[in-house]
């Protein structure tokens, strides 16, 4: 029986309770023994992306304390947060320091959810049933920083009844960009509206992505555009029976 530590991510924690619950259900069904380190907060990416390296370091320390003691893999419902830990933590600490070694160790066992299913658990079919037309938006960090180009589609294609339809300009950013969305709201708006236009033109009834931030952005955009489309985290589709 494998083990994992759940990294809730702050957006997951604040806005996506049922997605996190579904993540627990799927992993437990795959016989993964889970822990949720109570001391976790955020990976620190919002600070890092605004240039505050010093202040990011303190947040990263909290993360390393929360997850470092247990040597089980760390699984996040977000490619962006997983990538922060995987690719940006070690650089925060001087080479040779204990923190640097710990950051490298933690980075090596941090995984995005679909990556964990496919590459660690070697699972492509979780027995889900979702009889809908679905279109999929690959989130940028998930796609380019983690290089996860096929994983989500592999999982979606295995869902019974699910028809995956193409999304025009699927690899174009939705305009979320973390702090970007509030630093340059009007540019974020144009990008989001363009994405929502493509999503609505896809003919799907459900939009799926692997990133809570992008999901918030696009779901809000769809709501504002008066669309009835559902916008779901991939975990919620994979938990459907």
């Amino acid at each position: 029986m494998s083990k994992a530590q759940l990294f809730l991510t702050c957006l997951g924690d604040q806005f996506y309770t049922s997605t996190l619950q579904n993540m627990v259900r799927i992993l437990e069904q795959l016989e993964v023994e889970l822990v949720v380190p109570p001391g976790q907060s955020c990976c620190g990416q919002p600070l890092s992306n605004n240039g505050f390296e010093d202040k990011t370091r303190a947040v990263a320390m909290n993360f390393l304390r929360a997850f470092g003691e247990n040597d089980a893999p760390i699984v996040a419902p977000s490619g962006s947060c997983a990538s922060m830990v995987k690719h940006h933590y070690a650089g925060l600490f001087p080479v040779g320091s204990a923190e640097h070694a710990l950051a490298l160790d933690v980075a090596a066992r941090t995984f995005e959810f679909t990556e964990f299913l496919i590459h660690q658990l070697k699972v492509t079919d979780v027995g889900a049933v979702y009889p809908h037309k679905v279109t999929y938006h690959p989130a940028c960090h998930y796609l380019r920083e983690l290089g996860l180009k096929t994983e989500a589609k592999t999982l979606l294609n295995a869902v019974q009844g699910l028809e995956l339809v193409p999304l025009r300009e699927e690899e174009t950013c939705c305009g979320f960009g973390g702090a970007f969305s509030v630093t340059y709201p009007e540019v974020s708006r144009s990008m989001m509206e363009n994405k929502v236009k493509c999503v609505m033109a896809s003919g799907a009834d459900t939009l799926v992505t692997c990133e809570p931030g992008c999901l918030m952005n696009m779901a809000g955009g769809l709501h504002k555009a008066g669309s009835n489309m559902r916008a779901l985290h991939i975990i919620d589709v994979l938990a459907s029976k």
Binding site: G39, Q40, F52, A66, E186
Partner: protein, 490 residues
């Protein structure tokens, strides 16, 4: 023609003291992103087709990146070689530490030769130093001859796209400009307009005493200036007048002709989706034979203007690997939605966002490193693999925390917010406590299950799209469930 606001946004005749990206981005006329997107779509498709034909593309990119890196790391040696080679080919070399020095050098050459009229081919270096203004002030006519540059010179605006600088103007607007400036009744057919430009500019090429160009590459081995163009105006500028002055950044050096093969294969494919641009010129000094076509004198102005300073930043210096293809802008969703003007300088898009802060300082260009979602599309297409998102992050750090040239320049409210956030996120009990309070605000702002109209700073989110309700019930659920399971086990 263009609205006054439009004009105000896009005239870039002087080095900006502050680039107000947010303000610009919110006032860009809708026609600009629409036109820019037509161009970027075409170039993206063209690039993809060319790249698809070359199985060795990724290897070429890696080699291109390695050679650029190597050249920057040995730049002092290669520049010295270049200078010696240009001199031995009978050319002149001038070192310009600043834009002002470069302008003075060019003016002196012009005045020493009683130059009245100059023909110019498209050059980012001369735009960077605002050379045209200096020439005009000295009473020398400086005419841009690339069709797009000619049009925007008539319009008095800056470029909206690196490859097609006048793409924001419609054919009707171009016709109106031609009618006004040439005293004719210009038709709106692009082919006819190009013919009119050909005839008008042909006379200028034949009469100008000096041609000013930039350069795509400088070959250190032989002192050769390499120019890549499509229209033929670049050839005119280097063939017709008796004087040729090339103003080129010191970062444009390549070690030798062998290295150049790599960049010629990467450049046009990445830029316009051509295998090679129409005309590639390799110019080593002035003409040799009396009576041969070509200039009697060749002057190379090597422009530093902050580049040697950029080299001191081991992360930021990678920006100097750039070969100016524009592929990063073509795929950039931010650029596509704001166009070139919002970047407030001669260079726009992602590469502008990492170059301008390093050239102009983190005060003047402090907004630019943040003008990106860090989506990474740029780095994916860069022919010399510049890690643009990494440099954006690095420059954000220089803005937020200060660097060797400046104190932190990020706004005070942001610094205060960051300090608070750091405290709350690093002390996880504060975070957890806050998370439990947040759902209490839901009832005040909820409509149809979404929150809207939240106060500043979240208003900057909700003015664009609503926010999901605060939930944060997972931890409670997990604790209860764990307790229940423990109970069962007992």
């Amino acid at each position: 023609m263009t609205s006054p606001l439009h004009q105000e946004l896009i005239i870039m005749s002087e080095t900006p003291s502050y680039i107000a990206f947010e303000e610009y981005s919110e006032r860009v006329p809708a026609s600009i992103p629409a036109a820019v997107q037509q161009a970027t779509e075409r170039f993206v498709a063209g690039r993809a087709a060319r790249v698809g034909e070359l199985p060795q593309w990724e290897e070429l990119r890696q080699i291109g990146s390695d050679i650029r890196q190597h050249t920057l790391e040995n730049l002092d040696i290669y520049l010295a070689r270049l200078e010696a080679a240009v001199l031995s080919a009978g050319g002149h070399v001038h070192w310009a530490g600043s834009g002002e020095q470069a302008r003075q050098i060019v003016l002196q050459i012009a005045q020493a030769n009683s130059v009245k009229a100059v023909v110019k081919s498209k050059s980012m270096a001369t735009e960077e130093i605002h050379l045209n203004d200096a020439l005009e002030e000295a009473g020398i006519e400086a005419l841009e001859t690339d069709l797009g540059e000619y049009i925007i010179q008539l319009a008095g605006t800056g470029p909206s796209h690196i490859i097609v600088p006048a793409v924001h103007l419609t054919k009707e607007e171009v016709a109106a400009l031609f009618s006004k400036h040439l005293g004719i009744d210009a038709p709106t057919d692009p082919t006819e307009l190009a013919r009119i430009a050909r005839e008008t500019l042909r006379e200028k090429f034949l009469s100008a005493q000096m041609g000013i160009t930039g350069g795509n590459f400088l070959i250190a081995e032989s002192g050769t200036l390499v120019m890549v163009t499509n229209e033929g105006n670049g050839r005119m500028c280097t063939t017709m007048p008796d004087l040729h002055v090339a103003v080129v950044g010191i970062d444009k050096v390549v070690p030798d002709w062998e290295s150049l093969t790599v960049f010629l294969k990467l450049l046009a494919r990445s830029a316009t989706g051509q295998k090679l641009s129409t005309y590639t010129q390799f110019i080593t000094g002035p003409r040799r034979a009396e009576g041969e076509f070509g200039p009697k004198e060749f002057h190379l102005v090597l422009l530093d203007n902050g580049r040697s300073k950029i080299l001191s930043d081991p992360v930021g210096r990678d920006v100097l690997k750039c070969i100016r293809c524009g592929a990063c802008a073509n795929v950039c969703p931010v650029y596509k939605n704001v166009g070139g003007f919002a970047y407030g300088s001669f260079i726009s898009g992602p590469i502008g966002a990492i170059l301008s802060p390093q050239m102009l300082g983190t005060q003047a260009a402090r907004e630019l490193p943040f003008a990106s979602t860090l989506c990474g599309a740029c780095a994916e297409v860069c022919p010399v693999k510049i890690p643009i998102p990494t440099i954006l992050l690095h420059l954000r750090r220089r803005v937020a925390e200060g660097d060797e040239f400046s104190e932190p320049t990020i706004s005070l409210p942001l610094r205060a917010t960051a300090a608070l956030a750091s405290l709350a996120l690093a002390w996880n009990w504060i975070y957890r406590f806050g998370a439990r309070l947040l759902p209490a605000i839901n009832p005040f702002f909820r409509r149809d299950g979404w929150l809207s109209g939240l106060p500043y700073p979240i208003s900057r989110w909700t003015k664009v799209r609503p926010l999901p309700s605060f939930g944060s019930r997972f931890r409670q659920w997990w604790r209860a469930r764990s307790a229940e399971r423990k109970g069962e086990k007992r």
